[in-house]
Symmetry: C2
Subunit: 181 residues, 2 copies
């Protein structure tokens, strides 16, 4: 873990409606892995798909682990689960996250899409802030997803909002493998 | 390269004053590399440092290449170069980028910090838009850096602005290895 009087593990939030939040967390993971750090990315809400990042960590033993534990996006077309199932999955994911965070095995833990879990009321802000307060001082914790609540932003050290200025899907260009997923 | 009537190589811009632009481009590269794509990241302005991403691509032969060709940030404390040297480096980098883009060896080319090169007048917008117009149709081109000019945004398919909401350095917490670089 990182030493030094002034270094500390940061609480980093990527929020906003633009593309690039999970992507930035992945880039951060790549960078840290370059420095020999261990990174765990825990994906809330998202269910398993052939995401490029999952293929990547399978192919290259690079110090990045990803655990996908959601049931898919909530209350959208194609959502096959009752709300309670989403809640159950989110609580289970949070419990897993807590165990991993307290294990001190990682330098960085990314709670991907946890802001969406908060926004959709799968988790309470209290549950999440309690977890943040328990994290080891050296651990960097990254929380992504649109709709980060103010209480989370208040608690965070670094907050970036990714704003959508222009998006091609609105002009009829479909998602691009390796770009969007 | 990607096939299909409706797929096309996108012009993607990450701009704004927040942390996460280069990082998002790195994450996109990781994702695409997971899908077996070839990615070249060309860094304008930045000069060689022990960046995590450079260490990463050296360690893992994962389909991502990085070429750092700048002379460091322009007109800031510690800038040892006359302005003309920065211009020369930027022009050389752009020429290199053009050769690589036209080579069709890559699925994605990232022109990292090229927006800063534009903002600092190391390159003209005409030079950059000319290059974009020449790119192979299937190639995704990613341009990062704060201060993307309007003409570039007009030409792009996908534009995300990363806004700084909160930054720890302002509160006296120093840069963290593996997080900031």
């Amino acid at each position: 873990m990182m030493k030094g009087k002034k270094t500390k593990g940061l609480v980093i939030v990527y929020t906003g409606d633009g593309k690039g939040k999970t992507t930035a967390a992945l880039g951060m993971a790549l960078r840290a892995a370059g420095h020999g750090k261990k990174i765990l990315i825990i994906q809330f809400v998202k269910s398993f798909k052939s995401y490029g990042e999952l293929k990547f960590v399978k192919k290259f033993n690079c110090g990045i682990e990803i655990k996908t534990m959601g049931k898919g996006y909530v209350k959208i077309k194609g959502d096959r689960f009752p709300f309670e199932e989403h809640v159950k999955a989110a609580k289970k994911t949070l419990k897993f996250a807590k165990d991993q965070i307290l294990s001190k095995k990682y330098h960085i833990v990314v709670l991907d899409e946890i802001n969406i879990a908060l926004d959709k009321k799968l988790l309470t802000i209290q549950e999440v802030t309690d977890l943040i307060k328990q994290k080891p001082p050296d651990l960097h914790l990254v929380l992504t997803g649109r709709g980060a609540p103010k209480k989370l932003i208040d608690l965070a050290d670094l907050v970036s909002e990714v704003k959508e200025i222009k998006h091609p899907f609105k002009f009829g260009i479909p998602a691009q493998k390796g770009i969007e997923n």
